[in-house]
């Protein structure tokens, strides 16, 4: 994805069923986002089903949809599961 003007490049790591995209396994996406983007913007951009109640982490730290994203950040999106 590309955006006009200044961008922040974020690597998105997808887990579990979020890896299943268009008939193949995609673990990582590189996204160019407008400055000021937050983790929740990526969740919406990727049209992630809210019923998956995804857990978010930025650079291995737990995050929320409001967590701001900076250039070079790694965002992990992990569908919630209930237990073993």
């Amino acid at each position: 994805m590309t955006a006009e003007g200044p961008v922040v490049r974020v690597t998105v790591r997808l887990y579990s069923v979020l890896r299943h995209r268009e008939g193949r396994i995609v673990d990582r996406l590189a996204l160019d986002l407008p400055p000021g983007s937050r983790a929740g913007d990526v969740v919406r951009l990727l049209a992630i089903d809210p019923r998956l109640e995804p857990l978010l982490a930025v650079n291995d730290e737990l995050a929320t949809e409001a967590t701001p994203l900076a250039d070079g950040d790694r965002l992990a999106i992990i569908p919630s599961v209930a237990g073993g």
Partner: protein, 566 residues
């Protein structure tokens, strides 16, 4: 429906009417009622006065997805208190098709000191000599029994672990694909069965014989709503199907709560290598089954058959708790090694949680270095051969800690914690502390809740709600995987119960059943000598901060004490 009572002392198997007070109970609730009615709480768990009960849940018998679980119960030799341990497989279904409300195993050993097999079909039940099965692992036990009878029998059996009275011994049930690996693992109930010298139970019924329905239309309507909810929800139709419980590895690691090197850290640097995603990809490439149903009729199929590099089955199933306790907890980052440890435990008929926790304690004591796959496998081989070192592991984590002089032992009521460090997932810590079952992964996990898991505030109330719901589901024979569908429509469970039994229960039925069950369990434990001091996490977990979150377990004790009495 009848109660079947097998008395090993007298070598008899007799049918009885269901006592009136038991008629509205099944599964875990029936275990609690039964133990209070028939088992002296102070008895020796491995003596003749302890009894086992096999209790299908209230919804079992219809092949309703994820709702055919069997509960096994008795006084636990591991905890000294009440124990209910439920599993999938076909035992619950076959019992109901044989019109068994419950099966009680009592007395023992037999007068000649020999081993027995209990055979049940539509014409009756009898105890047979089982000398030829003694010493066999569960794979060979299944093969021999299928050869003797036929391939559609149900089997519940103990392995060498149960025969040797290991406190980590479970009772294992066969699935519809003839894998004898679905284990009622926790609390040492296999040792109770072994103490009575009952090696196996065969349930011989092939044809469907679903129980009658009080209101077939209402039951069918509720069933359809339930199935539709399972099919439409992405967790039950996709996440669990493709990744199973192993999807928890990444989630729990991210929350800083995956047991690592004997619960000394909450994040494992090699979590990706043992993650659900890695296991899914490996298994798919090798030709294993990434989606496998542990019960007939289950459409979630969260289980798997994990293949090795040669494409042959290494173990079935490979699931999260085992990955945590026999993987990150040992510093082991190779799924194939975890699978081999798991397979040995399966064949011996052992709880992988307590065994894995004991191995972690052993590693801390220096019996093998963390991360040393060969060392862990060698110690499991000692378990198989029954050497003194192997028996220390087979006694569970609490025993291993005492023998080896280790204080960092992750147990409550002597039972090992599952793969959620309670300092990072504090609601689950409350469950571990206050469940009458001891630290148990089926008693009420809270990791799914949308809360700050390291904030102690509110965790007690959260745990109480989840504990009641889980005790309710375990009394219905419903798997926790179906809970997300039930949660969407609070009328679904009452509608199913009313459709089957016509009891006219209301919307609060599930939680009320769960609460009643837990109060019965606490009554048994109190009579067995338990006090509030038993409702605590190990003291070191309140003092030793868990990296990287740097958090201790700090839910106030007063909240633990008030949890079930409020």
């Amino acid at each position: 429906m009848k109660v079947l009572r097998a008395n090993l002392t007298h070598d008899t198997a007799t049918y009885e009417d269901v006592p009136e007070p038991w008629r509205r109970y099944g599964g875990r609730a029936l275990v609690a009622r039964f133990l209070l009615d028939e088992v002296p709480p102070a008895c020796d768990p491995l003596g003749p006065h302890n009894k086992l009960i096999f209790a299908p849940g209230l919804l079992v018998g219809h092949m309703l997805s994820s709702c055919d679980r069997i509960s096994v119960g008795g006084k636990s030799p591991l905890t000294g208190g009440i124990k209910e341990s439920n599993a999938g497989g076909t035992t619950g279904l076959k019992m109901v098709w044989l019109r068994l409300h419950s099966l009680i195993v009592e007395g023992g050993p037999p007068p000649d000191g020999g081993w027995r097999l209990l055979y049940i079909d539509e014409n009756g039940a009898r105890l047979e000599d089982a000398a030829d099965l003694v010493g066999l692992g569960l794979k060979d036990t299944a093969a021999r029994l299928i050869d003797r009878y036929h391939k559609k029998i149900g089997i519940s059996a103990i392995g060498p672990a149960g025969e040797r009275l290991y406190q980590t011994a479970g009772i294992t049930h066969i699935d519809q694909d003839r894998n004898l690996t679905r284990i009622s693992a926790r609390g040492g109930l296999g040792a109770v069965m072994g103490s009575k010298r009952l090696k196996a139970i065969v349930f011989d019924v092939s044809r469907s014989n679903r129980p009658p329905l009080a209101d077939p239309d209402a039951f069918r309507d509720a069933s359809k709503r339930y199935l539709r909810a399972l099919q439409e929800h992405p967790q039950t139709s996709q996440v669990y199907t493709f990744y199973g419980t192993a999807a928890m590895v990444k989630m729990c690691n991210s929350l800083g709560g995956i047991p690592t090197r004997n619960f000394s850290a909450g994040q494992f640097e090699d979590a990706e290598r043992i993650s659900g995603e890695t296991i899914h990809d490996l298994n798919q490439a090798r030709g294993g089954e990434v989606a496998h149903a542990c019960m007939p009729g289950c459409i979630i199929r969260c289980s798997n058959i994990y293949a090795g590099p040669d494409g042959e089955t290494l173990v079935t199933p490979l699931e999260y708790e085992t990955i945590g306790l026999m993987g990150s907890n040992l510093g082991i980052n190779d799924p194939d090694v975890i699978a081999r440890l798991n397979d040995t435990a399966n064949d011996l008929g052992m709880d992988t949680i307590d065994t894995g926790a004991a191995l972690g304690v052993a590693a801390e004591a220096g019996l093998f270095p963390f991360g040393d796959a060969a060392g862990a496998l060698a110690l499991m081989d000692e378990v198989r051969h029954g050497t003194p070192a192997g028996r220390i592991i087979a006694g569970g984590a609490a025993l291993a800690g005492k023998v080896l002089g280790i204080r960092r032992v992750p147990v409550v009521k002597n039972q090992a914690m599952s793969a959620y460090d309670p300092r990072a997932i504090k609601g689950t810590g409350v469950t571990y502390a206050t469940s009458p079952q001891g630290a148990d992964h089926t008693a009420g996990l809270t990791i799914r809740a949308n809360v700050n898991h390291i904030d102690p505030a509110g965790q007690a109330a959260l745990s109480r709600t989840v504990q009641y719901n889980m005790a309710g589901y375990d009394s219905l024979g419903a798997c926790t995987m179906g809970a997300s569908a039930f949660a969407l429509d609070p009328a679904m469970v009452p509608d199913l119960i009313n459709g089957q039994y016509g009891w006219g229960v209301g919307s609060g039925y599930l939680a009320e059943l769960g609460r009643e069950t837990i109060l019965l369990e606490r009554e048994f434990n109190r009579a067995a000598g338990f006090t509030p001091a038993d409702d605590r996490l190990p003291e070191w977990m309140t003092e030793e901060a868990l990296p990287p979150l740097d958090t201790v377990f700090d839910v106030p004790a007063v909240e633990l004490d008030a949890l079930h009495d409020g």
